[in-house]
Every structure is written in C-alpha cells, then in structure tokens.
C-alpha cells in the first residue's frame, strides 16, 4: 500500500487523478497502474484497467493462464474502485481488493453502487473488499487534486457540490 500511495502521489504531481494501484500474485508485483486518461484520450484508462493490461502482458510473456493468475491476485488501490473498474475486476475474477478511501463520486464497492458483491451472473464473480487502509492520506491527495480542478475535464454543473466531500 505504501507503493500504491507513492504512485498516487506521482499521478498528482503529473496532473492526473491521484489513484495508484498494484496487482500482487505470489508475492510478486505483476501490474502497476495509475490513471492514463489524458495521455490516451480514453476516459476508461483508470489505474486498475492499466494494471490489468500489465498482468495480461506478464501472463503472455510467461506463458501462464490468465484465468489462473487473476484468480490468485490481490489488488491494492488507494481509492475504492469506480463502478466501471469494479465490474472489470469481477469480469477478471480477482478475488480480493484492499483499498484506502471511499470513492464518493463513482464508487462501485458500496459508495454509489455495490457492484463488488451484487448478484450478476453475466458479469464475472463477486469479490471481497478490505477498506480503509491509510484512507486519510488517500483522501487528502484527492482533495488536493480537486481543489486545483481537473484541467482536462469538461465544465460540470454539479462539480461544486461533489467537491465539498
């Protein structure tokens, strides 16, 4: 989690949403991710999606079955995965997610919707969450980021209210 927080800090310094994550399999870090929305002009390039791609690449390079690897991978992420990422983690059948602070705006593990534990037979499998680890540090970074505003996001009418969290 220390490393995930350091990556989030790096993202903050680069003007991206400060979320960092690691995917760990057999005590080995197979995937690292931070938000890449601005570089790719693709709003779905969240830290978790980037890390999933790295684990898939590792599987291809090491001739491992991705299904077997993801089934024994733990995700460490500084912020609760959003609804999209929570569904993606289900589809990859990752069993456990350790995260820091809640994601009040988009959270998919209880804050907005509970995708992580819902009964969705066509969207992979539910996963367990361990929440709140070093949440204060993670939330402070988000606050700093939203105070300076995301220069790449469109103007939003509801933004002010959301940022008060």
């Amino acid at each position: 989690m220390d490393r995930a927080l350091r990556m989030a800090k790096e993202a903050l310094e680069n003007g991206e949403v400060p979320v960092g994550c690691l995917m760990v399999y057999n005590n080995e870090i197979l995937g690292k991710g931070r938000n890449e929305v601005n570089e790719t002009k693709n709003a779905t390039r969240h830290a978790e999606m980037v890390a999933i791609d790295q684990v898939l690449d590792w599987c291809h390079q090491h001739d491992k079955d991705p299904a077997e690897v993801f089934a024994h991978t733990v995700l460490y992420v500084t912020v609760e995965p959003c609804i999209m990422c929570a569904a993606a983690l289900r589809l990859m059948k990752i069993p456990l997610v350790v995260y820091g602070c809640q994601n009040e705006r988009f959270g998919g593990c209880g804050s907005v919707l509970n995708i992580s534990s819902a009964n969705l037979t066509d969207t992979g499998e539910p996963f367990q969450c361990i929440a709140g680890y070093r949440a204060e540090e993670a939330v402070d970074m988000l606050k700093t980021f939203y105070r300076q505003e995301n220069p790449n996001a469109p103007k939003s009418k509801v933004r002010k209210k959301e940022c008060s969290k």
Partner: protein, 340 residues
C-alpha cells in the same frame, strides 16, 4: 434432396426474416427516479365539516404547519358527491401507530389553528416526491391530489413520438452498421455484439467495432472497443485493432472539432449497440460523457434499464439518454445465429 431454402445464401434468408419483423420502435429507458414506483408516506388529514371554514383552515394550516418538504401536495381534496372536503393537516411521525390515532388537539396543540369546522383526523398515504412522468402522476394522484410539471420531451418519448421517419431511417442505418460489425466479429469467433459511434452534429459515423473479448482482450466488449476507437480517432487510444478489420475509426482531421472549446472524449456523440451493455460498459460511457445510447435488445443483467439504470442517476456526474428496441428483431437474432 434439400429444399430450395437450404441453397440460399445467408443474407437472402436474413432479408426474408427482416421482412417478417414487426416495425421497431425506439422506447425511452427512463432514468432511475423517473422509473421508480411512487413512494408513499403517512400523513394526517381531516374532513372539513363546515365548508365555509375551508379557506380560513387552509390559510391557518399553511402558516402553522407548512408542508415545506412536500410542495407538490395540494392541501385540500374533494372526494366528490356529498362527501365533505378533506384537508391535509401534517405529516405523521414515522413511528405512528395506525391503531392509536392522535386527536385534533394533540396534532394542533399550539392554538395557531382554530379547529372549528374540522372533523376527526385520519391517516392517509401521500406521495413523498413530486411525480416526474405521467404514469407516476396518475399513480400519485390516486392517493392525494398532486401537482405535476410535465416534461414534454419525456412524455413524447414515452408515447413514441420523439423521432421523425427521417430520424428513424438514420437510426436504422447506424444500427445496421453495428449489426454488420457484430456478424464480422462472429466470423472471427467473437461474441456477436456490434457498436457504432455517431457525431450527432454532423451525422458522421466516427467508429464501428465489435466485441473482442474472446481475442484481443477479455475486457474489450463492443462498447469499450468503440470508446477506444474514438480515442484512436482523436490521436490517442490504448489498443491496436489491425487484426480486426471490421473495427474502424475516422481520423479526427476528417471531422474537425466543432463548436466552442474542445469536446471531451465522447461528448456530443451517440452510441448504437446491438444489445444492452453491462455495468462496466455503462459506467465507461458515463466517464466518456456520451450523449445518447440506442440499443437493440436487453441483456439479463444489463446496466441501462434491466438491472441498473446507470445512465440516469443524480449521484453520478453525467447522465445520458437511452432508447431500446432499435432493429430489435435482427439484434435478437444475432445471438441465435451463432448459437446454432
């Protein structure tokens, strides 16, 4: 020998089936609040036994017991015939025991309301929120008279009157492109789902793609493919589609940025999708700021109407319109063509 049908190529058989399809309708998929059942809460009302006291009672009640949280509720209702008018007194406490009714002097103890002309109070269920659609209004008004500010566009859409025949012809053309992509993907062993992105300002198709979850990447559902193809068109993108010739995009110099300021990823664009997307894809479209989604058929745990309504939540930072039923017949058959 085989019958004449067995020798016909696929497309000819499809054409015959399509002639048998009933005409399709674009049906609005209501957002979360608009689709909910009318929520009811308990309130106290009382009959007005002296009709001449009505306006005084309403005035005094409005001052002493304003229904600040429930401005949609009318104060008085007429039940018709010879029955007395009934006036809303106040909300009941959530712990109100329906067996032990409070009296007028208990409900209005401070003397601000002269109870002259009022009959015995009774409990009534009233709508907790203002109705947003005509069906909600009709349901709400069955419980207590309720104000309704009709949203013309929603009513038109619910009545299937939003699109002109020209609109529908264009929509059909775009969905046909999505279906065509789905079939091309299926020939490569992919899940038969297709999608197309259209710039609403110009009517141009910016991206066409099919599901790649069985090949390129397990998360590349047709929607995710199209979002990334649009990003490719804007000079970004995370994946390469050269093994999938049916996944195409229009480079951005051919569809110059219009209007004031830069568009954000998919803002101002429509997505045509042969079937309802999952939660990942529906939320990806929130992040991408899509304008509208048109899909053919529902999915068992779909996130735009069936299981969730991710497109119309007040607690997310972007909302988009959703219509289902576009070329429903051919979209429905996409699943079966591969299954058989």
């Amino acid at each position: 020998p085989a019958g004449p049908g067995a020798m016909e190529p696929d497309y000819k058989r499809r054409k015959m089936q399509e002639l048998d399809d009933p005409p399709w309708e674009a049906l609005l998929v209501l957002p979360e609040l608009e689709s909910q059942e009318v929520e009811l809460i308990l309130a106290y009302a009382a009959p007005v036994l002296l009709k001449t006291e009505t306006s005084r009672l309403v005035q005094q009640l409005s001052a002493a017991r304003p229904l600040t949280e429930l401005p949609h509720l009318k104060r008085v209702r007429a039940r018709g015939g010879t029955q007395p008018l009934e006036v809303l007194l106040c909300l009941a406490s959530p712990s109100q025991d329906t067996g032990a009714l409070q009296t007028l002097s208990e409900l209005l103890p401070d003397g601000q309301v002269d109870i002259c002309g009022l009959g015995e109070p009774f409990l009534v269920q009233v709508p907790a929120r203002a109705p947003l659609t005509r069906p909600q209004f009709e349901e709400a008004a069955r419980h207590w008279p309720t104000a309704f500010h009709e949203n013309k566009r929603t009513s038109q859409a619910l009545a299937g009157q939003l699109f002109t025949p020209q609109d529908k012809a264009a929509m059909q053309g775009h969905m046909e492109q999505a279906i065509h992509a789905a079939r091309q993907g299926a020939e490569l062993g992919m899940v038969p789902v297709g999608a197309a992105v259209v710039d609403t300002a110009t009517g141009r198709v910016l991206a066409v793609g099919h599901d790649c979850r069985k090949g390129l990447h397990p998360l590349l559902h047709a929607t995710m493919v199209c979002i990334d193809l649009v990003a490719c068109g804007q000079g970004g993108g995370a994946y390469s589609y050269h093994d999938y010739p049916a996944c195409t995009f229009l480079p951005s110099d051919e569809h110059a940025v219009s209007g004031d300021g830069l568009p954000y990823i998919c803002s101002g664009y429509d997505l045509y999708l042969t079937r309802e997307p999952c939660a990942m894809c529906a939320m990806a479209l929130v992040h991408s700021r899509i304008q509208r989604v048109f899909y053919g058929v529902a999915s068992p745990h779909g996130a735009l109407g069936t299981r969730y309504r991710i497109h119309g939540r007040k607690d997310l930072n972007h909302r988009y319109e959703v219509f289902r039923g576009i070329l429903e017949g051919p979209c429905q058959r996409l699943g079966q063509e591969v299954a058989s």
